[in-house]
């Protein structure tokens, strides 16, 4: 019993160190990629296209829906308490600071996390990874780094779009139901928006992007030889990404409100 505990602890520590090393080499190769701008650049563009551009529609729908919901709550429920101005604070808290980055991360996990893990897993099984090594291409720099950068950039950009859609798109939708003057809406929104809100939102998007990409890459690379491992890698990528993103969210939010 004790032996088993010790063994699993050692294995856990080993895996932790390995993943840490993996993370560091991904970051290092990403920095090199930015500097070299070589072959992986094309992969980066395609990754942003897939993770960012193609996720824009669903992200916009979610953002507008949430923004519109808060707008309606603000104009009906909160007005009953004479607190309709709280709506703007709620919009900023929910869309900019809390839900925006989190939901964007969820969208990216569901779309790109699985895709990255299964794609890389499939490449390992098809010996494509070995083929890269054999021609002298480091899979981390050629496969992982552009995907990492692509996901992180997409997360940041999608978060900005989420804000754009959540704050402005929802305004347009609510106009149809209960018109508010744009000037009034905009001024009130600007009045409650603090640099910290914007900063925290972007910081979260950055952290979540790093988590999602590294976890998915790690899971993809951890496939060894059987094609049955590939879907497992996909599932694990999603599971671990969700867990870690939520954990990171809790930590960041705690730091923000307590620290």
């Amino acid at each position: 019993m004790l032996d088993r505990l010790g063994r699993s602890a050692r294995r856990g520590a080993g895996e932790f160190l390995y993943s840490l090393g993996f993370f560091l080499s991904v970051v290092k190769e990403s920095v090199l990629l930015v500097r070299r701008r070589q072959v992986g650049f094309r992969v980066l563009v395609m990754q942003i296209l897939f993770t960012g551009v193609e996720a824009l529609r669903i992200s916009a729908v979610v953002a507008i829906a949430i923004g519109a919901a808060i707008n309606l709550i603000g104009s009906s429920l909160l007005a009953e308490f004479g607190q309709s101005r709280l709506m703007y604070t709620m919009l900023i808290i929910v869309i900019t600071r809390e839900l925006g980055p989190l939901l964007t991360a969820f969208i990216v996990i569901a779309r790109s996390g699985t895709a990255i893990a299964t794609e890389l897993g499939g490449m390992v099984v098809a010996h494509e990874m070995e083929a890269y090594v054999s021609v002298g291409v480091n899979p981390i720099s050629y496969l992982a780094a552009p995907r990492f950068l692509g996901v992180v950039i997409s997360m940041l950009v999608l978060d900005v779009y989420f804000n754009l859609f959540g704050l402005l798109g929802s305004f347009a939708v609510v106009q149809l139901i209960k018109p508010i003057a744009f000037e009034e809406y905009f001024r009130n929104l600007a009045a409650v928006l603090r640099p910290g809100d914007l900063g925290m939102g972007l910081l979260k998007a950055l952290v979540f992007g790093v988590i999602v990409s590294v976890v998915s890459l790690y899971r993809g690379f951890s496939v060894e030889r059987s094609s049955t491992e590939v879907p497992v890698a996909g599932i694990r990528a999603v599971g671990s990404s969700f867990m870690l993103v939520i954990l990171a969210d809790v930590v960041l939010t705690t730091i923000q409100y307590v620290g």
Partner: protein
């Protein structure tokens, strides 16, 4: 220490190499040297670990114990630069082709050039790719993806990818398996040409006829270890039963009749004229060897023509090694 061709510098040295899969040892304590410019064939029953040994030799799979030396340097401890050098000068032909599915055939072939010759212009890359595509005799569109190809075509392209930088050391995992007759002939011809050009070949195959045709050394693997190694005679001397069990009707090369070699024999003869063809090339008389009525020769001429700038490259490579 096992047999080694006296006086020839080893290009690869195996030092007590072991390979493990899970808790099971597939290879234990393998020690031998491979000479430069020779064709070495790994043989063994299925699951004997020959593919694992090949990948370990190519540095695609770390040795679980022991080490593999490339020109005296351990593959496990190559510097970044040395590793790049090793990758530049070696190539691996995978059993299933292992083409990159998300890239076009052209990009599959161009990537090694782009990686190792980053300064080359797109036109240059295109020229090099064309040459190697002609070499393997692939005539379809290079814009398609590997998934559009038959498995035989994929293997040809994979071979082309391995040859695109004209490696001095070529690892091949079952290069002749699952090919149609024409493709098989092509591959055999290419192997012969490479051998003739002094490239070091390390091949895993079950085609005993080709082993007899090309092998300078054979390594017989079984029961998790090396059962025999050396030239055919040496190997037989070492462990005749094991060698004969694998090679079956294989006979010593010297004893082979022209008829027994069949087509391959024609290739062997053709090599004698290899130099002459090149001479004619240099003399500007055109690379076309089709004037020869002999079909085999014509194909060979194509192959040699298409081989990327043989002599110059080799010369440059030699210098780099010395520095």
């Amino acid at each position: 220490m096992w047999a080694r061709a006296v006086g020839e510098p080893p290009i690869l040295e195996f030092r007590s190499v072991g390979a493990r899969r899970g808790d099971f040892d597939i290879l234990r304590d393998i020690t031998f040297d491979l000479s430069e410019g020779r064709a070495s064939f790994f043989m063994g029953a299925a699951g004997s670990g020959k593919s694992a040994l090949l990948k370990t030799a190519a540095g695609l799979r770390p040795a679980d114990s022991g080490e593999v030396l490339y020109r005296g340097r351990s593959l496990a401890h190559l510097s970044r630069k040395e590793e790049a050098q090793f990758r530049r000068k070696s190539a691996f032909v995978f059993q299933d082709g292992a083409l990159w599915a998300n890239q076009s055939l052209f990009d599959n072939l161009a990537l090694p050039v782009r990686v190792h010759e980053p300064g080359s212009s797109p036109a240059e890359v295109e020229r090099i790719v064309r040459r190697v595509v002609d070499l393997v005799g692939y005539e379809e569109d290079l814009k398609t993806r590997p998934s559009d190809l038959s498995s035989g075509e994929r293997r040809l392209i994979a071979l082309a990818r391995a040859l695109v930088l004209d490696p001095e050391l070529l690892f091949m995992d079952e290069p002749f398996a699952n090919l149609d007759e024409a493709a098989s002939e092509r591959v055999v011809g290419i192997v012969a040409a490479l051998k003739e050009r002094g490239r070091s070949l390390v091949v895993v195959t079950t085609r005993s006829d080709l082993v007899g045709r090309f092998a300078d050394f054979i390594a017989v693997l079984g029961s998790g270890g090396l059962m025999a190694f050396g030239s055919y005679d040496e190997a037989v001397e070492w462990n005749g039963d094991a060698v004969r069990a694998l090679t079956g009707r294989l006979k010593p090369r010297a004893a082979a009749s022209e008829a027994a070699w069949g087509m391959a024999g024609a290739w062997a003869d053709a090599f004698a004229e290899d130099g002459a063809v090149l001479e004619s090339e240099k003399a500007g008389k055109g690379a076309n060897v089709k004037r020869d009525a002999d079909g085999g020769r014509a194909v060979l001429g194509d192959i040699i023509n298409a081989l990327p700038e043989e002599d110059d490259e080799a010369g440059r490579g030699g210098e780099e090694e010395r520095t």
